[in-house]
Symmetry: C3
Subunit: 268 residues, 3 copies
């Protein structure tokens, strides 16, 4: 992927305002909607099983987030996912906290069985859980850990037959054959709730305008990481409240030249 | 209505802190509560069917918002609405996304049948759907479109026997006989989620202190639009994150003289 | 308690990042999670009855908030509370709006019967309701009202066999024998939704790292109040939107010396 594609896709989002149907959690619904609006997408949050299929059919991408799961929302996710599959609309999964409880692990497995996902985004522990592996931080040797994440992403992509995004200190995106590593982002993102969830929604917005989902996800991560870096820089030492607001600002403001200047990734 | 009535009603809200019972959605609950608090009202969000009637009875206005509808919340809305009707407490409907799915359309029709609304606020497509019409943007001729919105608001007010607020580039408020047009507001409002929902809640706060609901709604829209203009001006080009925060500030700060200076409306 | 203990406990939170399991409401979920993150705790919001016990077992403290109660969430609260009791994990109750409807009153009584709480935090009316008393503001004689609050807190602590926190103009914390009064905080806290709910969550974070729950709650209130004072001072007259953001900043920034300088409490 050329770096120029990042802004080209962002521009396509801004011009076409794709409708992104989110079934998400009570913690991040507002932040996700505002983030998507900032970027130019049109968010809709609708989690009633009665309308999940119809809403998914109208959407350009569907994002399923397991943050505050319950019986109803799992059914709504499956209904929305199947509906999106029928119309070949991309479906993104954010398996929040999978592995933390057996309920989440089972729900995730059911979702994987019933819905075909275009992209799955999680941290290393979540992605490992999806393929039945246990992720353990194996020490401070960053070199080895990085190697582990690369292998994890590629393996998960092959096993789940989808594009997998593993976020962490570095972000790894793989379709099982090609793997991209993104160097953008900022540690303060971990101090604001829902930054992972919003990232999954942003990945959905990029997937809505680009059929090559490896490129779509990679571009989304570069854009998102650059916005975070600029926001962190502008609110240096002010605290996570100010960062959160400036980050929403930057999601709407990041320019083509800033992405060219700060965007950092490579393909393996 | 005299323009002086806008601040007079706002002052009444600030002095009496009316309890506004909201049955609303997971996306905007926090923003709506903070907006109402900023303005001087006392928000309560309670959507369990078991307590909906009792909470509505205690409230000075009830605001029903269809944003993230489900079986339980529809029942709670009907229960709260009927309870408010019994005690002649104003009930406001925000038919978010009606027409987007048949589930929403049916829920809205059920609400209209079972509850007597004082004020209904939506965009043109939503209001048109409520009276079985299809709203189509008929081109760029602003003159004609404005005419259409005026007719839509007046027709809907007559057919639904209530005050109807159609928000858009210009806001139109009609009771079927008199129609007011408000020129305040700012395009950046569309970049922050829940600004329509919060507006409906603010309309509820004004209706809580003024029995003439055409005046109450018109005053609420002028106040809200002026606050948005000042906030947009103060956060010029900073982005939607900063605007959102400054808008909450301005909802608490807007003065009588600012409303006199910037408030802009006329009656047809 | 020595004043130095306040920062010592805060430091312990920052170093150990205790997992705080919140079953809370749609209005404050985001604000509570961001507040806990700012302070160094690890929030998880999970309210499905299917995973409540397992999540509570993994947590260092469980916070049950009655803000937007429903049938499911009451069951989840009881399940989580019992599970935490089994592993002697502290459980905090925030009986939001108890007394406002009979549904809330009954739910609170059921929670009190089935779960053993370490700390209960509410305003005077809420705490009075829990012990079957009716709280009435008895006039403007601040001296008497203060006396009433002290008695209320001590009585409730004895009757409910727990640490009770009554927040208001002054905050009173009692275990039935010892009673602390905290003089920190700022009136603008009442203009931001969820500041009481977040306080209960912060109390949970302190209880997670300190077995003396009277000290834990007192330290949490001093820390929280000092953060609010600094934030209010820094955003003087800007409005509640700016305060809200700066308050999150200060929850992450408050220093040992600021707590020493501004922290104000005494023991009766």
């Amino acid at each position: 992927m050329e770096k120029g594609k990042v802004y080209a896709l962002l521009k396509r989002v801004k011009e076409t305002n794709p409708l992104i149907h989110n079934i998400t959690n009570i913690v991040v619904a507002n932040f996700s909607a505002n983030g998507l609006l900032a970027l130019g997408a049109s968010p809709v949050m609708a989690d009633a099983v009665e309308e999940a299929a119809e809403m998914a059919k109208a959407a350009a991408a569907v994002v399923l987030n397991m943050g505050t799961l319950n019986r109803e929302s799992v059914e709504a996710m499956i209904t929305a996912g199947k509906s999106a599959n029928e119309s070949e609309t991309p479906v993104i999964l954010d398996p929040v906290g999978v592995g933390a409880t057996s309920y989440r692990t089972q729900a995730a497995q059911r979702l994987l069985q019933e819905v075909k996902f275009s992209i799955i985004r999680g941290n290393a522990a979540e992605i490992a859980n999806l393929i039945g592996e246990k992720w353990e931080i194996k020490g401070v040797d960053a070199g080895n850990m990085k190697g582990d994440v690369l292998t994890l992403a590629a393996n998960a992509a092959k096993r789940l037959n989808t594009v997998v995004v593993v976020t962490g200190k570095e972000d790894v995106i793989s379709n099982g054959m090609l793997t991209n590593v993104v160097h953008n982002g900022h540690p303060i993102l971990t101090k604001v709730t829902g930054t992972g969830c919003l990232l999954s929604a942003v990945v959905g917005a990029f997937a809505a305008v680009e059929k090559n989902h490896l490129d779509a996800a990679t571009a989304a991560l570069i854009f998102y990481g650059v916005a975070a870096e600029i926001a962190a820089n502008k609110t240096d030492e002010q605290g996570p409240g100010s960062f959160q607001i400036e980050f929403i600002n930057q999601l709407s403001l990041v320019s083509s030249s800033e992405i060219d200047l700060y965007g950092s990734f490579y393909t393996i």
